[in-house]
Subunit: 383 residues, 2 copies
């Protein structure tokens, strides 16, 4: 079970400094939660991840259910032992995949709409189903991408899988809506999410090892988000996730997060699911978010993009072959201490795995360091 | 410049223990030379390679000429600085690519023929050219695999490139013949290789930093191999490479290596190019080989195969997901100390880069450790 303690509140924003205690150690919040989809941060070992100042990871219930299957992980002693990671772990519930493999895939949209004029975004009306999934009041039916076999995940199943995976913090199963859903669709989906939330809480009775977070849905609609927050807040959850679509743009994202956060018990931790571009991080912390997961540092790294104090660097460019300076002169990570830009550019351009790995290491370190500095700002009353 | 000292000879075989001194430190021979084709051991950092007990690397002149180009590497301070590797480095001459992109590719054969009955292996007669290269008395004309531009590498060009790369040990440019060449073809190719050898020696005059090894060719023909050994032995080389095809099978490989080694000055180091299956290593050392490069440990790792004291393990197999023991119980490498077979199997099956990296680390450590034990056997008079 977790314990959460707010140790300092900003008097200029909703930002707060906290300590999250788990049976795998304490972590300081706010913190980034790097994404170890398949029980691994792509390209790194668990020991390397630790060196990037990472405090906690999130793994993916849907992916691990498909491969290797939760029973293998349970038999190996759970995720921590399986991947040799001794710090805390979260698992998401699989709800996000209902979106990303469903309407997210069909309409090619993310959690923020980023509307482009001229592009015909069709609104998802109530009753419509995505092409590759079937969403019912009981759960989601989908075809295994591995062998095409029909599979089902619902609230009880999701908790069963997550129990076997054995993360410290697990999430209730939800329907993560697309930013193009109609009000009617969002309302029905919210009702489903709430029924599932109750089943998840029920399924957790007697589980003293793990802590369950409920997920607030409601799309970009104020009354639905507030209803979502109030309902999830009323159940026996150890913390909250804010999920689903967050509207059209970052202005709307701020509103949506605000509607939810304002109605939640302040004593419980708040996780923002799947958000964390570098430029968003300080903002979401100011809006009262304690933890957030996102694939930006790791995903960008594998495409050859590094984050530095002077902006992003694209290592696919020939020009960088001439650069004999370190990746980021103000960074003290292993990569910046040992390698120059010219070598990293060569590795990325030559499609060498080691290049992706060096950038993954640096980016994670950079992001974690970035958040560490924000924690220091909160400590010293500067945020 | 290198210095080589034989410190002990076996009295049961031609095996010998040596010290190879370079301006980047001393190494003990016999030793494996892992292949860092594009100035990197695929999946690892230079620091990790060091932890695998690797003493010396070999990089590829042909590949580095194409990407990033030798001028970039020279301007960055040479290969050692470029890749942050402080120990010795070899570069091959590009001669092997003449084979692998030429007849090796056309006929789908390696350096050992491994004849399969029923397969129609056409003998390469004198005058025949491979499909994708043109071999002339001056050098080799080929199309860049990057942009299709016509490129040329000859003996002088190869040395020029290798000077800019700055390895401690560099190789003369040669024509590496296929095991299907006719006697006539091998004879003409040998003559070319010898003309090129003289040009390479000439091009190295005044170079006090690097040491040049000559390559003995002559295919599977006794008189040609002996002629090759005598000729290369007569020139001003710091050491020898035994290259080209080594016949049909391992019995013939032993003969071919023997014909060459028997005629070489005993005071100079002997490198066997591109050979080193685990089961071959003790043999080639007994035949008098001091160093040998091969991609087996790294290449097999990326395909999910690990080498252990109990044989090869294929981590693509589902069965291994159940195995809670370490990769090799007698190995003390980082991977065997920290990870179990079930996790490695999951990573390999899920196509995670980290899986390839863990196996690359282990395999290199395993091979280096294997050769270290052979050195100990020579020391104690047991080989």
């Amino acid at each position: 079970m977790i314990e959460f303690q707010v140790i300092k509140k900003s008097n200029k924003s909703l930002a707060r400094l906290g300590i999250l205690k788990t049976s795998h150690g304490e972590i300081e919040t706010p913190t980034l939660v790097p994404v170890a989809t398949q029980a691994v941060i792509k390209t790194l070992t668990s020991e390397e991840v630790l060196e990037t100042k990472t405090q906690i990871l999130i793994s993916n219930t849907f992916h691990l259910h498909l491969k290797p299957g939760e029973d293998f992980i349970r038999k190996s002693g759970g995720l921590h032992k399986f991947m040799n990671w001794r710090k805390p772990i979260m698992t998401d519930s699989g709800g996000f995949q209902v979106f990303s493999l469903g309407f997210g895939h069909d309409l090619n949209v993310g959690k923020l709409l980023k509307y482009f004029p001229g592009k015909n975004h069709q609104i998802i009306e109530h009753g419509k189903q995505p092409k590759r999934l079937k969403i019912t009041d009981d759960g989601v039916i989908f075809k295994s991408p591995i062998d095409g076999k029909e599979l089902f995940i619902g609230p009880k199943k999701s908790i069963d899988i997550q129990k076997k995976l054995g993360a410290d913090i697990i999430f209730a199963f939800d329907e993560c809506t697309a930013p193009l859903c109609s009000y009617d669709y969002a309302k029905k989906a919210l009702k489903r999410t709430h029924n599932w939330a109750k089943i998840c809480v029920e399924s957790m009775r007697g589980n003293k090892k793990q802590s369950l977070f409920g997920i607030i849905q409601g799309s970009r609609f104020k009354d639905l988000r507030e209803e979502g927050a109030d309902f999830i807040n009323s159940l026996d959850f150890a913390g909250f996730g804010i999920g689903g679509d967050l509207g059209e743009d970052k202005r709307q994202m701020k509103e949506v997060v605000g509607w939810a956060v304002s109605r939640l018990q302040v004593s419980k931790p708040r996780h923002l699911l799947g958000i964390g571009y570098l430029e968003d991080i300080e903002n979401i912390i100011k809006w009262g978010i304690d933890t957030f997961d996102c694939t930006v540092p790791t995903h960008y790294a594998r495409r050859g993009i590094a984050f530095t104090g002077a902006g992003k660097i694209n290592f696919n460019k020939t020009l960088l072959l001439k650069s004999k300076i370190s990746l980021d002169k103000n960074c003290s990570c292993f990569v910046c201490k040992n390698y120059k830009r010219n070598y990293i550019a060569h590795l990325i351009r030559a499609k060498e795995i080691t290049g992706m790995k060096l950038l993954t290491f640096h980016n994670l370190y950079y992001f974690n360091n970035f958040v560490e500095k924000i924690r220091e700002k909160i400590k010293s009353g500067k945020l």
